[in-house]
Amino acid sequence: MPWNRDQLAQRAARELHDGFYVNLGIGIPTLVANYIPADMKVVLQSENGMLGMGPFPYEGEEDPDLINAGKQTVTELPISSYFSSADSFAMIRGGHIDLSILGAMEVSEDGDLANWMVPGKMVKGMGGAMDLVAGVKRVVVVMEHTAKNGAPKFKRKCELPLTGANVVDMIITDLAVFAREDRATRFKLIELAPDVTLEEVRAKTTAKFD
């Protein structure tokens, strides 16, 4: 039985460690915040210029000057600080963020990531995604194992334009988890969703993995 969205977020949350500074992408990655263990300290960075992002505000307490990178209203914590976008991306590019959890359209067996554009469709822009994958210490992708038409998303080479080359450290799909020790080694299948077989994963994956 494939993992659902919340289970994916829950699985991704297991990659968090005490004391981590983390940037969460839009979509399922945002849900990871709901699964931070109560006894663990994780500080969320929002690339528009905030460290120590709090939960959504109570109704009526929304502040238009306080949003996250998804332009959603959020709140402040006692530990929060604000800074400019230049300082925010200096933080990201400089390798100060421990972990980034992002969505993906395609990941290649070499760890290339494509998640920002589909040629021929209207292109909205890469936002901060290229900076995040280039700068954050560890990049975890959370995605459906296959596209809506059934095509594998973890493949030999990305066909879509890249967000970054050789930048992914772990891939969590609804069927399985792949990880590699460093960016010179191959991905290894380390977990299967309940009742999902290796054969099924192999059939739906064109990337080579161990």
């Binding site: 109704e59 238009p64 991306f89 822009g125 080359a165």
Partner: protein
Amino acid sequence: MAGASKVFATAKAALEGVVFDGMTVMSGGFGLCGIPENLILALRDSGVRELTVISNNAGVDGQGLGLLLETRQIRKMISSYVGENREFERQYLAGELMLEFNPQGTLAERIRAGGAGIYGFYTKTGAGTVVAEGKESRVVDGHTYILETGLTADVALVKAWKGDTEGNLVYRKTARNFNPMMATAGRVTIAEVEQLVQPGELNPDCIHTPGIFVQRIIQGEKYVKAIEQRTVRKRSAA
């Protein structure tokens, strides 16, 4: 002490003599957060055309830079993300609008570099992607870096929370975003603030933009401060 005052009565007056057809304009903000609302309106009303606009986003339909798209005053955008904008999409797909995408951090750093007298800088961001095409690169310790160059503008429009008559500015929360760098990169920088105060009222250790970067300042007439994604949580029943 004398010195020509930097304070202008209206957004319209603040733009007079410094805007022209074909100019490059920087406009602060992230989404609709921290955008120079009053100055964008005045820029639209000035009627200048063929603008190159450097801004992280392009506003939404009917708000922010979306206003200048409706009137077709923008020839080219330099941005990192332009979703949520049907008129933008229409003009772009019709070939009426040019667009240069920059990764968000690269855009922020290019603007900082422009204001800081840095010709260019080497960054890993975008290496191996379309962003690297046509750019110089070098490999150091196994990492590929691409050369990105500084950006400046004829006029930078920025929005702060408070500002004094010297042009010292303080931003509020995530409305800071691109405003501080843009303030440094405009040949003329025009700031609008929610509260215009006297020198001495701002804490000198907490001034985000020193007055040297601001040539003109206005107190904005009114602020909509629209929210794009109103997300809330329920109060748990007590």
